[in-house]
Symmetry: C2
Subunit: 453 residues, 2 copies
C-alpha cells in the first residue's frame, strides 16, 4: 500500500499533503494507469489519518482527472503518467546598471509635489469611496478628460471636447492603439533624426516605417510622398530641440490634406522657457487630421503612467465603433487624483516651478561649460525649450571615441549621431539632458575631462 | 492701424490677449502677408497699453513664425493666412446604458476590502516616499513580482520565478504584447464557444484567428492542426463553465510539443467552490510552452488595472531582447499597494470571503429558480466553479426571441449561442452571471416572467 510521511505544515492541510503525494506518484508513474487505489477506509487506517482526509484528497484527484471512480468497486489511476515536472529554469535578472558620476541621459523627479499629490489621493478616496471600484469608461473618467480639456485651453490655447480625449497607461500603449485605429497597412514616417523608441514601437507593431528628413524648420513635407501617417514633435523636437515655425506647420497640414494623418507628439512642450509654449498643430488643423498626444509621465514622474490623446471627431467615432471593446488601462484612483491636481491649479504651479528650477539648472550648467578650460571648443545649440540642448564639440575624434572617452571619465551621454537611423555619420554633437544633474557632479566631471579632452 | 478691445480677464494677461487678436487676424488674412505691423511704440500708444505688452506679444508671434522682423525696419506678417479655425465638431458621448431590473451579465464589487486597501496605500506612501517616483522596471516592481510568485505557489501550487513575471495594465494590453512576442505571422486558436473579446483583440492585432472546437472536456487537440498558439481557459471555461481534466491538459501539452504555444488564461480560477482550484497547466509544462495569465481586475475591482503573465524563461529572454524598450504600464503606487495586499494575506482572506459570499448568492438564486412556477423547464449546468452557470431552458422559442422576451421584462442576459463565432444555432441556454445580482431583484424578475414564459 502507498505510504507517505504526511507532515503537518502551516498552511497545508493534511488532505492537501496527501493529494500532492498521490498526484506526484501518478505523474511519475509510480502509481500506474489502471491501478486500483486502496479504499478510503484502508488508506486512512494505514496512514493514521481520518477517513475524511483521504476522501477529500481522492475527490480532488477525481475532479482533476487523475483518478476515476467505479461505483461500488473503487478508485483507479487514470493514464496521465509523466516525468516529474522539473523546477523551472532561471532567467537571470537584468544586468544592473553601472553607476555614473554624471548622467546626461536621465530625467529628474525631485521637484514633484509629493505632499499635495498624496493629500489629493486621500481626498479622492474619502470623496468617491466605493465609486472608485466601478468599471471605468474605456476613454477614461469624465472628470479627468474635462480637466485635461480645460488645461489644454488655458495653457495651450486649444479647443478640445473632452469626448475626444482618450486616456491610456503611457504613450507606448497609445501608439499601439493608434496603429490599430489608423491601420497596419499604412506607412508611418518618423523624424530623422528622432527618438529611437518610436521607431521600435512601430516596428514591433508590424507597420512599415520610413524616415522623415528634416531641415532647420522641422520635417520637410516634400519627401513625405509615400507616407500615410507622420509622427512628429513640432513643439520641441528630440534630440535637436528644433521648434517648427507656423509656416512649416501649415505646409505639413497641407501635406496631410483630407486623407493623411499627423500624430503630434507634444511630450515636453510645457518646458518652454521664454514666452508661452508654441501653439499646437492641432489648433491649426481644419480637416481633422491631427492626433494630439501628450503624457504626464514626463511632467510629473515616470512612475505615474498617464498619457492621453485628442482624436479628431471622426477618428474617435471609429475608435468607439471598432476598438470600443478595449478596457481603460489607467486605474480610477490615479485618474481622479490627477483630475483634481489639474483642476485646482497644482499642475500649472508645478510646471511654473519646474520651469524656473530647470532654467537655473541649465544656466548653472551653461556657465560651467562657458568657463571650463576647453570652452572655446564647445558650442551650445538650443531654442529655449525642453530639458536638453545639443553641445557641439570641436574635435577630430569620432562620436564613438568621444562616447568611450566620456564614459571612461564616468560621464554617460548620448551623441546626436545615435539618433539617426539611416546614417552613421559623425556629428560631433552631444545630447545634454540636464533635468537630472547636479552642479557639483558637473564641476567634477569637467575637472576629469580637462586632461583628456 | 489695428485696433482691438483688449479686456483684462482672469488668467489671460494683456500681452496674451493682444497676441491672440493679432494671430487670429494673420490666420484670417485680415493682416495680409508682407504687411508691415505698427511699431511697438505706436501700437502701445494707440491701444493704451505698455510698450512691454506689445513687445511680448510680438516676440511670441515672432518665435512662432507668424511674423518676421527686419532689423531697424520693423515687423512684417508672414505668409500663413488661413481660414479661421472652426470650433471642433462634437462627438456625441456614448449612449447611456438602459437601466435593468436584473442584470445577469455584470460583475460585483461590493465586497472589496476598501479600508484595508486605502490603509495600505497610505503606508506605501509613507514608507517609500519619493522612491515611488523613480522610473519603473519594465516588468513591474520586484516586490509585486515576488508577492505574486509566492501567491501562485501557495494558492495554485505553481513554481514561479519572479523574474519570469511581467506586470501590465490589463489583459487586453498583455494579449497585444504577446502577439508582438510570439509573432504576428502565427495562427491563434481561440475557444469555440468563447469570450468574444479575445477574438476581437486578436483581430485588431492583425493576426489570423481560428476556432478551437471543444467537447465536454475542453479544447480538442485533434482539430488544432494549423494553429501555432492556443488561447484557452482550462481551469474554468467561459461561458460553459467546463473544467478541463488533467488527461486533456496533457494531450494539449503534447500538441504544443516543443514548437507551439499555449496561453493559459486563468482569469477566475480563484472562485472554485468545492476543493482547491485545479492546478494550472503551467505546472504540468515540461517544455516551456505555457504562458500563464491572470488578472486582479476580476478578483479585486474592475477599476484596478493590474494583470500579469508568467512567461517561460526563453520567452522572457526574448521579451527583454526584442521588446525591452516598452515602459511598464502600471503606476508604482498601485504596484506597491497590491504587493502588500498579497504578502500580508489580505488577498487570500478576500478570496475566501468572496467565495463564501458568491456561494450564498448562487444558492439563493438556485433555490429561487428551483421553486419558481416554471422550475421544471429549467436545468442548471455547472461544475462548481466561477461566477456564472448555464441555465438550460426547455422552450420552442429561438434564442433571439428569448432574449427579447427577457429584455421586455427588464432582464439583461446573454444566451450561450452568442458566444459561438462559427454557428448561429439556437442553444436554448442562458449564461447566468450572478456576481452582481440581488435576491429581491431575482424574485421580482421571476414574478414578471411567470405570465410570459
Amino acid at each position: 500500500m502507498v505510504t507517505y510521511q504526511l507532515k503537518k505544515s502551516p498552511g497545508v492541510p493534511l488532505y492537501e499533503a496527501l493529494y500532492r503525494c498521490l498526484r506526484a506518484d501518478i505523474l511519475a508513474g509510480t502509481l500506474s494507469p489502471g491501478q486500483k487505489l486502496p479504499s478510503k477506509r484502508a488508506l486512512a487506517q494505514h496512514l493514521e489519518v481520518s477517513k475524511i482526509t483521504v476522501e477529500t484528497a481522492y475527490n480532488q484527484l477525481l475532479s482533476e482527472g487523475y483518478i476515476r471512480s467505479q461505483e461500488k468497486v473503487g478508485y483507479f489511476v487514470e493514464s496521465v503518467e509523466r516525468q516529474a515536472v522539473p523546477s523551472p529554469a532561471r532567467v537571470s535578472p537584468p544586468e544592473p546598471q553601472p553607476s555614473w558620476l554624471l548622467d546626461l541621459t536621465g530625467s529628474g523627479t525631485e521637484q514633484f509635489p509629493f505632499s499635495v499629490w498624496t493629500r489629493l489621493q486621500r481626498e479622492v478616496i474619502l470623496d468617491y469611496g466605493e465609486k472608485l471600484l466601478l468599471p471605468l469608461p474605456n476613454q477614461g473618467v469624465a472628470e479627468l478628460r474635462s480637466a485635461i480639456a480645460r488645461h489644454l485651453t488655458d495653457f495651450r490655447g486649444m479647443q478640445v471636447d473632452p469626448e475626444n480625449i482618450l486616456i491610456g497607461a503611457g504613450t507606448d500603449f497609445l501608439y499601439n492603439l493608434l496603429m490599430q485605429l489608423l491601420g497596419r497597412d499604412k506607412v508611418y514616417a518618423v523624424e530623422e533624426p528622432g527618438y529611437g523608441k518610436i521607431r521600435k514601437i512601430y516596428a514591433a507593431g508590424g507597420v512599415r516605417c520610413v524616415s522623415a528628413p528634416m531641415d532647420d524648420q522641422g520635417v520637410l513635407p516634400g519627401p513625405l510622398g509615400g507616407a500615410d501617417v507622420l509622427h512628429c514633435s513640432p513643439s520641441h523636437h528630440f534630440p535637436t530641440g528644433l521648434v517648427t515655425p507656423v509656416g512649416r506647420r501649415l505646409a505639413l497640414l497641407d501635406w496631410a490634406g483630407a486623407k493623411k494623418w499627423i500624430i503630434e507628439d507634444d511630450y515636453d512642450s510645457e518646458f518652454r522657457f521664454d514666452a508661452h509654449p508654441m501653439p499646437a498643430m492641432q489648433s491649426l488643423d481644419r480637416q481633422g487630421r491631427v492626433i494630439y498626444m501628450n503624457t504626464f509621465s514626463k511632467t510629473l514622474a515616470p512612475s505615474i503612467r498617464i498619457s492621453y490623446m485628442v482624436l479628431p471627431p471622426a477618428l474617435m467615432a471609429r475608435f468607439r465603433q471598432e476598438l470600443g471593446f478595449y478596457s481603460c488601462t489607467v486605474a480610477s484612483f490615479e485618474q481622479y487624483t490627477l483630475a483634481r491636481f489639474l483642476s485646482r491649479g497644482y499642475f500649472e504651479k508645478h510646471i511654473n516651478r519646474m520651469r524656473k528650477f530647470y532654467r537655473s539648472r541649465r544656466n548653472a550648467l551653461v556657465s560651467l561649460l562657458e568657463t571650463c578650460p576647453f570652452a572655446e571648443r564647445l558650442t551650445i545649440l538650443e531654442q529655449d525649450a525642453g530639458l536638453h540642448f545639443l553641445l557641439k564639440v570641436d574635435t577630430d575624434r569620432s562620436d564613438q571615441e568621444m562616447r568611450a572617452l566620456l564614459a571612461s571619465a564616468g560621464i554617460r551621454v548620448h551623441t546626436l549621431s545615435e539618433y539617426y537611423h539611416d546614417s552613421r555619420e559623425d556629428r560631433h554633437c552631444l545630447v545634454v539632458n540636464y533635468a537630472g544633474i547636479r552642479e557639483e557632479e558637473v564641476a567634477e566631471a569637467l575637472n576629469r575631462l580637462e586632461n583628456i579632452m
